[in-house]
């Protein structure tokens, strides 16, 4: 077996050698020189793309963790603490986005958009979720973009190099979230709000669900207003959005109908069985 393999390998060898020789004999021609520069250009581009993908992954992971943390908000007595902790986490995410923005200085953002889009969407989801918990309203694109303006001084302050900061002129750069990324992030937010609604009833909070259904309905109306003007991904999210809205509306319905019948102390129990049902439904594709 191995002998035959070795033999075949030998047969190929002179062939490979021939090619190498041919390259060595010729002095670098104009064509080869230009392809060497293409190699450099493509490698630089691919490296940048990979670095951005990695940053995007980190942004996604940290944003997801922030969302999980924020879900604990309703159940915990120390709400303020959780909010400030989430702010710390989001600041860390913004530091990553700062690096992304730094990579994109002087570049066409759309060239690398596919690399960073997933991370940005997750960040938008997290930041709008926090904003909702704080203010009970929807964060605007402008608001998000305002937080994504960075200066070079910032970094030096955090690393305590105040002496150097004066030598360097403050350099400003920013990252602008695209309308489509924003829309997709907000669409994901509605899923989180649905979960928040269900868990808040579990905690005996019967006002939040109604507030949430109101809010979700506004967002749903907004999305239907956009309809198919947007790209395909947006219309795809519309279906999931509708499902989330239906779950919240059904929860409100149950609260209204049965809330008056059931003694308050039992409400949570009734609802937690309902929650299980909803979760099961969710499991079915």
């Amino acid at each position: 077996g191995s002998g035959g393999f070795r033999k075949r390998k030998h047969d190929n060898f002179p062939h490979g050698q021939r090619r190498e020789e041919k390259e060595n004999v010729n002095p670098p021609s104009a064509l080869m020189t230009s392809f060497k520069s293409f190699q450099l250009e493509l490698d630089t581009r691919h490296d940048k793309y990979e670095r951005l993908v990695k940053l995007s992954r980190d942004i996604t992971i940290e944003s997801k963790r922030t969302i999980f943390l924020l879900h604990r908000f309703t159940s915990a007595p120390n709400g303020e603490e959780i909010l400030s902790e989430s702010e710390v986490k989001l600041n860390a995410v913004r530091q990553k986005i700062k690096q992304v923005a730094h990579e994109l200085i002087g570049e066409d953002m759309y060239q690398f958009h596919r690399a960073i889009s997933p991370g940005l969407q997750e960040y938008i989801e997290a930041v709008s979720f926090q904003y909702f918990i704080k203010t009970r309203s929807l964060i605007s694109v402008e608001e998000i973009n305002k937080q994504l303006i960075f200066t070079a001084e910032d970094r030096e302050e955090t690393t305590n190099m105040t002496s150097n900061s004066r030598d360097k002129q403050p350099h400003k750069w920013s990252l602008k979230v695209t309308p489509v990324d924003y829309l997709l992030g907000v669409a994901d937010l509605t899923g989180e709000l649905m979960r928040l609604c269900i868990s808040s009833v579990g905690n005996g909070d019967i006002d939040t669900p109604f507030e949430l259904s109101q809010f979700l309905r506004q967002i749903y109306d907004g999305f239907t207003f956009i309809g198919n003007t947007g790209p395909y991904e947006v219309s795809k999210k519309l279906y999931t959005l509708k499902q989330s809205l239906a779950k919240v509306e059904n929860a409100c319905y149950t609260l209204k109908v049965r809330g008056s019948e059931i003694p308050k102390h039992m409400l949570a129990d009734v609802f937690s069985t309902k929650t299980e049902l909803i979760d099961q439904e969710e499991g079915i594709p």
């Binding site: 230009s34 293409f38 066409d108 929807l138 309308p179």
Partner: protein
């Protein structure tokens, strides 16, 4: 700002986007039409031998590239200059096609590979991103790969037409192109797929050269440019 106001603003932005895309599509259609005309013209080189006949076709094609340049001018005005890659997909295909056509003309005229700068000049665009509407490197390389398969075809048809020297020259050219592409570290994308086809073109041309060699037909070709009448 209320939720509905926000979404109205977003809808406005998306609507504008669609208008831009519509405008771009119109110009790209015109460009595709011109590209087809040039291609039809150049297809004539497969029909008969004679450098005179080929050079005449090239000249005519060059005239058509004038139309391409005016259409490119109009394309540049359809979208904000710093958002090239946002709408890149719309003209990517036609741009690659035009690179191929320009490279084909230049090859037929001088038997060299057109540089990126020269293509950009023929098409009336820039080679650098910094200076405006430019030629993306991947599009340039894609166009060059299309040239390779066209030359494989030309090698076959040259033999049929009695021009035995051309396949040898094409073979040298393609081999150099192949070594050039082997320098690149391509990602697993469409360019890489196109590149994977290059080896078949190389093989095809090597077969033609082989056929000529065993019949001694390449010797009479090496006598001089007399092979072409």
């Amino acid at each position: 700002m209320s939720v509905s106001e926000m979404f109205a603003a977003l809808q406005g932005a998306l609507g504008q986007d669609q208008d831009i895309r519509e405008e771009i599509r119109k110009v790209v259609q015109a460009l595709e039409q011109t590209a087809r005309e040039i291609l039809t013209l150049l297809q004539g080189v497969h029909q008969g031998p004679g450098s005179q006949h080929i050079l005449k076709k090239c000249q005519k094609a060059r005239e058509h590239f004038g139309t391409v340049r005016t259409q490119m001018e109009s394309l540049k005005t359809k979208f904000p200059a710093d958002q090239y890659y946002r709408f890149h997909e719309h003209w990517r295909f036609v741009l690659q096609r035009l690179v191929f056509l320009a490279a084909f003309v230049v090859y037929l005229e001088t038997e060299t590979l057109v540089t990126r700068e020269a293509v950009a000049e023929i098409l009336g665009i820039e080679a650098d991103r910094e200076r405006g509407f430019h030629l993306d490197i991947e599009d340039y390389l894609s166009g060059v790969l299309t040239l390779a398969s066209e030359l494989a075809r030309l090698a076959v048809n040259s033999v049929t037409a009695g021009d035995y020297s051309r396949p040898l020259r094409i073979s040298t050219f393609i081999n150099e192109l192949d070594s050039g592409f082997r320098l690149l570290n391509l990602k697993n994308d469409s360019l890489r797929k196109r590149y994977d086809g290059l080896k078949y073109d190389v093989k095809k041309i090597e077969e033609v050269v082989y056929d000529l060699s065993i019949r001694g037909l390449n010797k009479e070709a090496t006598v001089g440019p007399g092979g072409e009448k």
